[in-house]
């Protein structure tokens, strides 16, 4: 049971890292990026090909993948989101869904539907602490996720830039009045949020298969984590992500592995029932 719990915690940290990027984008620009899962998929493929073609280990290429995804986020914002910002909310939802579909199909075309994984990375193997054995890739990924989470929290809550973010989230027009350019802040948020998910994606390749639809699974979990944690709340996304990981592993341990994903959605509905705005209110 302790092993299941620790595995849940580690998975939860990874979910939280994926969710934080979405929470940032969602909270500041008020856009649900339905292609968030596909951004993760791009990150995983980037890490995979860097390893396969250039022999760069994912743990070392993760920052490069983060920069690459940051560029993808910037491009997405400037080409698509910016022009729809003043339109109906559903247009943005469908646009990002269409983008996700395009990215997924491009991955099918260029990389084929085959599942791929990386053999013998730097962090292959397992670690034993006391009576608990854990996969080393999961441990490393969880620790790195914790680092990314820490950096994001520091950026948003302890820097001048973070205060500008929160000002734009409060009221775009007022922020513009005091000299904060909303569009530039939005673009920066998309860069940072996408970079975070790219980083998480690179680390995932050390122990998870890469295939075009991988983003759908993690994307949905990210949506649930952000929504359950509370709209636009980074602490909420963190707590919710870890909670999801633990719920998933505990259900797999006590009930049945086949039902562990169902429990996530059921708990999600129950939480929203009692807390219509999620565990944490708006920041």
């Amino acid at each position: 049971m302790l092993e299941a719990l620790s595995a849940g915690l580690f998975n939860g940290l990874i979910y939280a890292a994926v969710a934080l990027g979405l929470a940032l984008i969602w909270g500041i620009t008020d856009v649900i990026n339905f292609a968030h899962g596909e951004f993760l998929m791009l990150g995983m493929y980037a890490a995979y090909w860097m390893f396969t073609l250039g022999h760069v280990d994912p743990t070392l290429s993760a920052p490069m993948v983060a920069c690459l995804l940051g560029f993808v986020g910037f491009t997405t914002y400037t080409l698509i989101i910016k022009r729809l910002q003043k339109g109906p909310a559903m247009a943005i939802i469908l646009a990002t869904f269409g983008l996700g579909l395009v990215l997924r199909q491009l991955a099918f075309i260029f990389f084929s539907p085959d599942y791929r994984n990386l053999p013998d990375t730097l962090v292959s193997g397992s670690i034993t602490v006391g009576n608990i054995s854990m996969g080393r890739p999961q441990v490393i990924a969880a620790i790195a996720s914790l680092a990314v989470i820490g950096i994001l929290f520091w950026l948003v809550y302890r820097t001048r830039w973070g205060h500008a973010l929160q000002a734009v989230a409060e009221d775009r027009e007022v922020a513009a009045l005091v000299g904060i350019p909303p569009d530039r802040v939005n673009a920066q948020v998309w860069i940072v949020g996408s970079a975070a998910v790219g980083f998480a994606g690179a680390l995932l390749t050390t122990f998870f298969y890469v295939y075009p639809s991988v983003g759908t699974v993690f994307g949905l979990l990210a949506f649930v984590a952000v929504c359950m944690g509370g709209f636009g709340s980074l602490p909420g996304a963190l707590v919710a992500g870890i909670t999801l990981g633990v719920i998933e592993s505990m259900t797999g341990y006590f009930v049945a592995p086949a039902l562990k994903t169902v429990s996530i959605f059921i708990v999600f509905i129950l939480v929203l029932w009692y807390r219509p705005r999620g565990l944490f209110g708006r920041w």
Binding site: A95, F223, L259, P276
Partner: protein, 335 residues
């Protein structure tokens, strides 16, 4: 005050208005008759298939529109009702030998009941929360059906292959086409009457400003639930029909997020909050989808879905209000 004085003084205007308001119904009947006559002239099975899909998605979009358009709550999990309706119909047919003529309405009723149960917790949610909650419901339905062996599990269920009209089993697809037209006409009439009644005005009041509507005495919770239940019920009926038409159902196809989004897209492309929008959207989008599938689907590269995704992107970027806004825009320019 002024308008109330003017109204009794101009009976011809009100009569003219009443006359013009009936025109959509006549047009709907005419269109249905024309579509029903299509198999006489068109022998191509593919064209009948595309027409049927257009009709079905138009109806699904119209049902979704009650919640998404007139009530203003975006549901991305509406296909949970398609799944419930479809499975109910096939399970009743398989286990109780019950004719789908009864099973399909029962599927609609069960979908409405489920909508009523889940409407309680979800309709309290605002904006994005409602969207995510409906997606979660869809995933719950999908995962439960995958693991429910009595209902076929991940393998799925088949309708028997036979020629039995009373069991809605035909070897040709044309009878299903006619059934679809009948159901679509009923769907349009139902949505038209709902939207033009007190119910519809209450929905739009809630959509515009829920707090203000409440303060004016609109029982918002009851009417939100009504929209959700009616929408779920209609969608469930079409789920039952879809199951009979396709003949084979399994969790991934009946509880599909992509299908859900396609329904939303149909309604949005045509123009939400308008009675004609979903049908227009379906008429444009489904032929595009089927056409790209025929032209590029066999390449095995998924080009059809790529083009479909690009189409979604371009349409939402350049026409965010939907097709009906084109007409309004032109009207505005004319004025």
């Amino acid at each position: 005050m002024n308008s109330s004085i003017d109204r009794p003084a101009s009976p011809p205007a009100s009569a003219k208005r009443a006359g013009s308001s009936r025109r959509p119904l006549l047009i709907a009947v005419l269109v249905a008759a024309l579509l029903a006559a299509a198999p006489v002239f068109v022998k191509d099975a593919f064209t009948i298939q595309v027409l049927l899909m257009v009709i079905m998605f138009g109806a699904l979009g119209a049902a979704w529109n009650l919640v998404g358009g007139f009530l203003g709550r975006v549901s991305f999990g509406h296909c949970v009702f398609v799944g419930v309706g479809g499975y109910t119909t096939i399970l009743l047919l398989q286990h109780l030998k019950l004719t789908p003529i009864i099973g399909i309405p029962l599927g609609g009723l069960l979908s409405a009941a489920i909508a009523w149960v889940v409407g309680g917790p979800t309709l309290r949610l605002a904006g994005h929360y409602f969207a995510m909650a409906t997606i979660a419901l869809l995933q719950i339905g999908l995962l439960l059906m995958i693991n429910w062996q009595w209902a076929g599990g991940a393998v799925g269920l088949e309708a028997p292959i036979a020629e039995a009209p009373w069991m809605l089993l035909f070897r040709s697809k044309v009878p299903y086409y006619w059934i679809a037209i009948g159901l679509a006409l009923l769907t349009f009439l139902a949505t038209w009457f709902l939207v033009h009644s007190k119910v519809g005005f209450y929905w739009r009041a809630i959509n515009g400003d829920e707090s203000a509507a409440r303060s004016l005495g609109v029982p918002a919770d009851r009417y939100k639930m009504l929209a959700f239940v009616l929408s779920g019920g209609i969608t469930g009926v079409w789920g039952g029909f879809f199951a009979m038409y396709v003949g084979f159902i399994e969790p991934e196809s009946m509880f599909s997020l992509s299908l859900s989004v396609q329904v939303v897209l149909v309604a949005i492309l045509g123009g939400v909050g308008s009675l004609l929008g979903p049908w227009l959207g379906a008429a444009l989008l489904i032929p595009l989808s089927e056409g790209t599938r025929v032209m590029w689907g066999s390449s095995g590269l998924g080009l059809d879905l790529l083009i479909f995704g690009l189409a979604i992107l371009l349409v939402t970027m350049f026409l965010p209000g939907g097709l009906v806004t084109l007409r309004r825009r032109r009207g505005a320019a004319r004025r």
